[in-house]
Symmetry: C2
Subunit: 644 residues, 2 copies
């Protein structure tokens, strides 16, 4: 069993992923998200595919139902994404209902598929004869990509090849149509690029890799076609080898990057990889929300300009968070650098996990960092979670990533000639895999992210020396390691971001990592206008926020401020109502009052009008990923940071 | 000749407007905007009505051309707005081309009008039989409103009644259809309400006032119909008597308020007036940009939440600025309070006039307060001016207001039993009107807004005492008056905001007002997250901005900051290339550099990473209304305000 994004043996990567069965989450939030995913979210999603008409569209395409196509053109993709989610889950525990859904739906897709391999219920039912006629918006290859990923997941997880046969027929058809030349053009929504490389990895069919590489290289030459937002919105304004920054539709841009890295590592193309790395650095430096959220501008669902990172209006689409994790994971494998795992962790524990309610039932599409008390009075933003959407891309983007979370926890490499086992994410886990000519077993015991102690016990060890490499998060101010011989030393990261302990490890030995979870105040870069003069509170990997529910009577979230020198007290809750296990942060803060000059919300500095006022109040913060599980109140991540 | 918004003799208002011929602008920016309006903007607009197909749509409706309807459903309204602009201009100087356009187009509208009075080329050509079937989006009554306003303008300005007859037939038809009861509902875009009151004022036909009052009262009961953004977007969620705040689509909300005040003053309905005043106060306090721009959220073109006033993403539609001036003008007449003229001035000299380029050729639809250096790399916002738009509401909204600017300069009242002449806006002007049983003549000489001296000479005076009331802008820190007897005294405003000088005025006497134009630093209310820690520079009524074109070599606008205690030097230019007459402001400022921690645009406060850096640079600001006439560079109104 393998997970998502598994480079082929010949690929040029620094690290290799584990097989799926080599890691098991045994507790903590990640495991909890997986449990709720399987018990609550997936059954709901399957129900919605029926209610929203996705499955019926396919039945009509298969000639088994009458009626009109319902929903947006990419309705099939939701089916594929739920199938992929089911596939990852079906490897672990038997789930009859889920297996039944997966089996029935694979057969339905098989019956709906046309003789030449084409499969898209919208174009078969609602627009016959319009195949590939308007690729800029048609999502035909986008849907094909998700079908392929679902098929790859089923093959890798449970070995089921029913769907893989459907996907291969479609991919063969795509290769026939698009490989000889640009032909009908390029899909306006990248996704098929990374999917085709995965299909190549599973099948060994070189044409799929060639087709993916062709799609990647053709981008940036105006082949997508005209769109009202321009070629930049569809990442078609510059070739991927030269585009310096991520622009346009965020999810599209991020999906494309996953394909770029996949092609680069499979073909050993260092220039292509470097171009993607440069864009990742630029995005991280100037277009990334503190929560890891990406695509700050709601109009067009696009990356904003550099440093356009407004807390209240930030769009931060849930799909973009998932796509970012998938891109960073590929860069981590390619380069072996911990910074990619750092961003994965930031995104996973904040922007991504906040999208879904604690009970697993409802989702945000956009993930702002502020909700004002009067948010119901304006329109335009998604300001509350919903079970499903007309454009329902986000819920199954969550379920498919959560279903395979353990895949992102560890990798192996030859690090400086020494077989090295890398731990990127910290959670209670059992790990066991062939390693260094023998077999390695590890048990990770930790209460992370609530506490910073991570105990790693060797349960099985190969003969000879090998290294354990532990990612040292940059936010941990003082990190130490307890080695098996009782020493406690500073856990200094190497140039790749890992603390590496190399020795003749024996079963029963333990390495204990102590991460520093002291709450810290974070301030923004001066170019971020919308955050100037504000601070946010973080603790370990968690970004915190101030919700109205936790504040003192009469203290409005919109008035809160933090004084210079503020110190936070940690308040543990085993099961806070609506939220569950958490650590709240409490401090002596301030409430600000403002003066209106001439009726306007501005005043002359040093002028005759009253200055702003301030009074003391206690302030309480809750992890952002747990917000909005206790009613409709105001919320802020960033609050004023004032002297005195 | 009368101007726009002239209450009928029986209306309950504190002030009365002058007749149009009683005021003439003789110089200064307002006069310059009028000149360019007539010479450049209007001929261009007339050309666009032909190029974009508006006139052709009407010809098809009249049975004089073949083809399909082109453009959005409200194409007719652009024709009406250009006709209104032409009407105001045609009173002053003979303009054969403009008169020819107005005459021909009035006849075309007459021929296109249906037998029962209905007139809307979209529904006649593209959707026959769908009349009033979908009022939430159809704009049929919105277009009727603009037709009526054009007809009222032609009647008041040149006495021409051709268009008035067309408008009356349409209004009679509307009264037949909508007066008996809600019937087909309410238009999703208010405008007809204020237009019908104006038509009542011109014709004396009570049914028009009744119909307007009915439309106003019916609002808030769900009669507009379903819209994807909800009833709030169409101001149909709460009755106008109880709605506490302006919400939804900004231009719609503001147009509705003009109608509310018109109905209130004509029917003497104090409760209705008070409700509108309360919303104006709320809007001014929490939803108004420093430039007077309104409707901060581009998604849905709506009012944002309270204190949602982002400089970079603010939409501030040009039409909303014009609508705000029209609403404030009505409230000024109703109440006699200078604060409405204050907001008119702020909007007029900043958000409104910045929309059009200095040469009168191109327009912004949205008016942000920031443009970043990489603005071309994102999509979604209107980041450069254009000659015309597919949805071309804004250009003729500018031309119709500019064509009658002098109308907003002065009013008359009985102030505390004394006949009083109020001056609200300062510009070189000749004023002459029947007054206090005789005739009053005034000459205003000033170099405002570049200099603060305003000399008012009595050129003709009625017998007996009367008062001159001069609006004292709240930004003028030290304002003085020189009276005819040589005294110089503090110009203390009364409770309405005016400095009142009452005496037996004689021809030849002069009153000189000295307004304080010392540049001032303005800071935002602490609830405006997006402006925290920033300051803006203002001088008199002008908001300033920093454009890249004026900065030192190497100093990027995005890095600029102002230190505490910064002092601005005034640099006069008689004709700065591309800009014209202006006063620049120059100071010793700072350039900030930022630190990236872990590659992100955030850092731990007091953490191990480098602090932000700063170095000295000179900074130069230009009036916001003159921005973007010198290339495509970055611009900011608000910049960091830092200690040290």
């Amino acid at each position: 069993m393998e997970g998502p994004a598994v480079p082929s043996p010949g690929a040029r990567t620094a690290h290799r992923p584990l097989r799926l069965e080599h890691a098991e989450l045994t507790g903590g939030p990640l495991r909890q998200w997986q449990d709720v995913n399987r018990r609550v979210s997936l059954p709901l999603a399957v129900g919605w595919l029926e209610k929203a008409g996705n499955l019926r569209n396919l039945r009509i395409a298969a000639g088994e139902a009458d009626g009109e196509f319902r929903g947006p053109v990419y309705m099939d993709s939701d089916v594929h994404k739920v199938l992929e989610s089911a596939a990852w889950h079906l490897r672990e525990v038997p789930d009859e209902a889920l297996a039944d859904f997966a089996g029935r739906t694979a057969l339905l897709l098989e019956r709906a598929q046309q003789d030449d391999g084409y499969l898209d219920s919208h174009y078969q039912v609602a627009a016959p004869g319009r195949r590939y006629a308007q690729l800029v918006d048609s999502h035909e290859l986008y849907c094909a990509g998700h079908l392929i990923q679902a098929a790859v997941a089923a093959r890798r997880s449970s070995g089921d090849t029913k769907l893989l046969a459907v996907a291969r027929r479609f991919a063969d058809h795509l290769a026939d149509v698009f490989l000889p030349g640009p032909g009908p053009g390029l899909d306006g929504h990248p996704e098929v690029e990374t999917a085709l490389v995965e299909l190549y990895r599973v099948t060994g069919e070189e044409r799929y890799l060639e087709l993916s590489a062709a799609f990647v290289e053709r981008r940036g030459h105006g082949l997508v076609g005209r769109h009202k937002h321009g070629t930049m919105h569809r990442q078609d304004h510059l070739p991927v080898r030269t585009a310096p920054t991520l622009t346009g539709h965020a999810v599209r841009g991020l999906y494309l990057e996953a394909g770029v890295v996949d092609v680069a590592v499979e073909t050993g193309d260092e220039e292509l990889l470097a171009a993607s790395v440069a864009r990742w650095e630029d995005m991280t430096a100037a277009k990334t929300s503190l929560t890891g959220g990406l695509g700050s501008r709601q109009v067009g669902e696009v990356f904003g300009e550099r440093y356009e990172l407004p807390p209240d209006l930030s769009y931060n689409e849930t799909c973009a968070s998932a796509a970012s994790i998938q891109w960073s994971w590929r860069l981590l494998l390619a380069t072996g650098e911990a910074r990619y795992a750092d961003l994965i962790e930031r995104t996973l524990y904040n922007a991504f996990s906040a999208a879904r309610s604690t009970d697993g039932r409802t989702y945000y599409k956009g993930n702002p960092l502020t909700r004002r008390p009067d948010h119901a009075e304006a329109v335009g933003d998604p300001r509350c979670r919903d079970e499903w959407f007309f454009s329902a891309c986000c819920p199954p983007a969550v379920t498919r990533l959560v279903a395979s979370l353990e895949h992102y926890a560890a990798t192996v490499s030859e690090h400086a000639g020494v077989p090295t086992f890398h731990l990127h994410q910290y959670a209670p886990m059992e790990l066991a895999c062939p390693f260094a000519g023998g077999r390695l077993g590890l048990r990770v015991e930790t209460d992370y992210p609530w506490h910073g102690r991570v105990a790693i016990t060797i349960t099985e060890a190969p003969a000879g020396p090998f290294a354990l490499a532990l990612r040292i998060p940059p936010w941990s101010a003082r990190t130490t390691l307890e080695t098996p011989d009782g020493a406690r030393l500073d856990a200094a990261p190497d140039e790749h971001g890992y603390a590496v302990v190399s020795r003749d490890w024996r079963a029963g030995e333990q390495l204990v990592l102590h991460l520093d979870l002291t709450p810290r105040l974070t301030v923004p870069h001066p170019r971020i206008d919308a955050l100037r003069g504000s601070a946010a509170v973080e603790r370990g990997p968690l970004v915190y926020c101030f919700e109205q529910a936790d504040q003192e009577e009469g203290a409005e979230v919109d008035d809160l401020a933090l004084p210079l020198g503020v110190a936070f007290e940690e308040v543990e809750h085993a099961d806070l109502a609506g939220v569950g296990r958490t650590v709240l942060l409490r401090a002596a803060g301030l409430a600000l009052g403002g003066a209106h000059e001439a009726g306007l919300p501005y005043r002359t500095h040093g002028g005759p009008y009253a200055e702003d006022s301030r009074c003391r109040t206690s302030v309480t913060a809750v992890p952002y990923f747990q917000w909005d599980n206790r009613g409709d109140g105001a919320m802020r991540v960033w609050v004023p940071f004032v002297s005195g």
